[in-house]
């Protein structure tokens, strides 16, 4: 029965459909072909998260492609969520990549606008942004549900070939902390309307603002239509917290949290403690379906966080 209602049948989709409180992680591909790094990161995440996002040249720095690394995760038994940004590819390349990703067995895709190339290691590159993230969601949803490409043609080989379209579970991001604040909920509503199945939010540190945004989402009925996973990144140190607060647009960290880190005997342990408290608090909120845990270059602390948050063992999904 369940299978007939599922869009992609991915593990993430099944768990969310079952009402489990899900946990996704994040894995940034290496900047070289030192593949052992991927094995190490997988070992830290496998069994502790239900799926892991694989980033697509995040902060516009060249890395192994998200689809290639997603396939490596799949082969290692960790379900991937392949991120696709609009910065580097036009609608032709993106749709081709999505067909390719599906062919390799990937079933979850997260649709992002992408960081501007001036932040990365190729600031003189030409950017694309042929689509924006909302258009990307719509294009992939229409590929899945209407079985049509963005150009209007059906997804079939020749006139007589069967209609065989990629069945993808579609994610999107939401940032409740950027401006204009009033627009943030409109943008979430547009992502729902475009066809996103789940949302992973920007890192939550400012709980009051986050809960204000979530209330708006509930009032508009959006939490009924989409699964929202709240973003968590443990703070490693006071300098990291200050960097995130001052340099990363759209991340808001209350001073009280930074004070807590500064006064702690060991800031990194305090950072983990804060992350655990945040997870436990978020779990109680109406409209939160899970956590997106982004332990940036700190994957080895993920098992500890998940355990302390009381989220072990992770649920099992029958093949």
């Amino acid at each position: 029965m369940e299978a007939t209602k599922l869009k992609s049948g991915s593990r993430l989709e099944r768990l969310l459909a079952r009402g489990e409180f899900v946990l996704t992680g994040e894995l940034g591909p290496p900047r070289s072909v030192e593949l052992e790094i991927i094995d190490k990161k997988v070992a830290h995440l496998k069994g502790y998260v239900d799926a892991a996002n694989v980033t697509d040249n995040q902060t516009a720095i060249v890395r192994i492609s998200s689809i290639a690394v997603s396939k490596m995760l799949l082969d290692r038994g960790l379900e991937p969520v392949a991120q696709i940004t609009c910065r580097d590819r036009n609608r032709i390349a993106i749709q081709s990549d999505v067909l390719g990703a599906y062919a390799l067995g990937l079933r979850n895709i997260l649709c992002l606008t992408g960081d501007h190339q001036t932040f990365g290691d190729h600031p003189t590159a030409r950017h694309v942004f042929d689509l924006d993230s909302i258009q990307l969601i719509k294009v992939l949803k229409d590929m899945r549900d209407e079985k049509r490409f963005a150009g209007g043609e059906e997804i079939r080989n020749g006139k007589k070939g069967p209609l065989v379209a990629p069945q993808i579970f579609l994610g999107a991001a939401a940032n409740p902390f950027a401006d204009p604040f009033e627009f943030r909920i409109i943008r979430l509503a547009k992502k729902v309307k475009a066809g996103a199945d789940f949302i992973q939010t920007q890192i939550v540190y400012d709980m009051d603002r986050f809960e204000g945004w979530l209330k708006q989402a509930r009032d508009m009925g959006l939490t009924e239509k989409i699964k929202i996973l709240a973003g968590i990144t443990p703070l490693k140190s006071v300098p990291m917290a200050k960097y995130m607060k001052n340099k990363v647009a759209g991340v808001s960290i209350p001073d009280a949290l930074i004070d807590r880190l500064a006064k702690a005997e060991k800031a990194s342990d305090e950072g983990i403690k804060i992350a655990v408290e945040q997870i436990q608090h978020l779990r109680q909120l109406d409209g939160i379906a899970g956590i997106h845990l982004m332990a940036i270059e700190w994957e080895h602390r993920v098992p500890e966080i998940v355990e302390k948050a009381g989220l072990l063992p992770r649920p099992v999904v029958e093949a």
């Binding site: 609009c86 501007h116 547009k190």
Partner: protein, 219 residues
């Protein structure tokens, strides 16, 4: 208007290596207004190059518009007398000059920048990408294609903070903050709830080098 700025003197000198008789040709329209290639700039550049002393003979002229063939008539003689012409017009003007005088070496003296407007004295702001399908009516008179760093059509990315764009918060306003504020004032925020479909870029340069063909004006 079309904005431009003069190339560095060293680059101009390198381009002109080996030229003995040079005409510096200014343009009286956009580049005059943005103080990059009008009569005054022609005179200043000529003086600077004379001081450097590597070119024997430098003449100066400025015509009303280098993007219009008829204005070249008055300087035909000067162009023919020179080995090379350094045009201070925009890229369109330089190309028309090269087309009218196929035997003449022509060099650009300015970098054409963008279609923009004056923000304050000495500051210009890119305002139109000439995409060929104007959407300003829907967006409260602020163009997201020209003024958003990512040309987003469905609202701001996560990099909009305090009305500024994360790409450079010192100098770039978030176009989507401007659009939001303007539509709020006009009572037209509902414009922003509809999903903007993938843009049709065939009317922009992506389609092909563009032409305008007005049958009603043909002779």
């Amino acid at each position: 208007m079309i904005t431009a700025e003069q190339k560095p003197l060293e680059e101009i000198q390198q381009m002109l290596a080996g030229v003995d008789k040079l005409l510096i040709l200014g343009c009286g329209t956009c580049v005059t207004v943005c103080l990059a290639g009008g009569e005054k700039e022609v005179a200043t550049l000529a003086d600077l190059l004379r001081l450097k002393g590597s070119i024997d003979q430098i003449t100066e002229a400025t015509i009303e518009r280098q993007c219009d063939q008829e204005f070249f008539e008055e300087v035909t003689r000067k162009i023919e007398d020179a080995d090379a012409v350094l045009s201070l017009a925009c890229g369109a003007g330089v190309q028309l000059l090269a087309r009218i005088f196929p035997e003449k070496c022509v060099y650009p003296g300015v970098n054409t920048r963008f279609i923009g407007l004056v923000e304050e004295q000495g500051k210009w702001l890119e305002s139109c990408l000439a995409c060929g399908d104007c959407k300003l009516g829907k967006f409260g008179g602020v163009c997201p294609i020209a003024r958003c760093s990512k040309s987003l059509l469905n609202g701001p990315c996560g990099g909009s903070i305090d009305g500024k764009c994360e790409v450079d918060p010192e100098t770039i306003d978030c176009a989507w903050q401007l659009i939001y504020d303007r539509l709020a004032k006009l009572g037209q925020l509902e414009n922003l709830t509809e999903i903007e479909e993938p843009n049709d870029f065939s009317t922009a340069h992506d389609g092909r080098p563009r032409r305008l063909d007005r049958a009603d004006m043909h002779l």
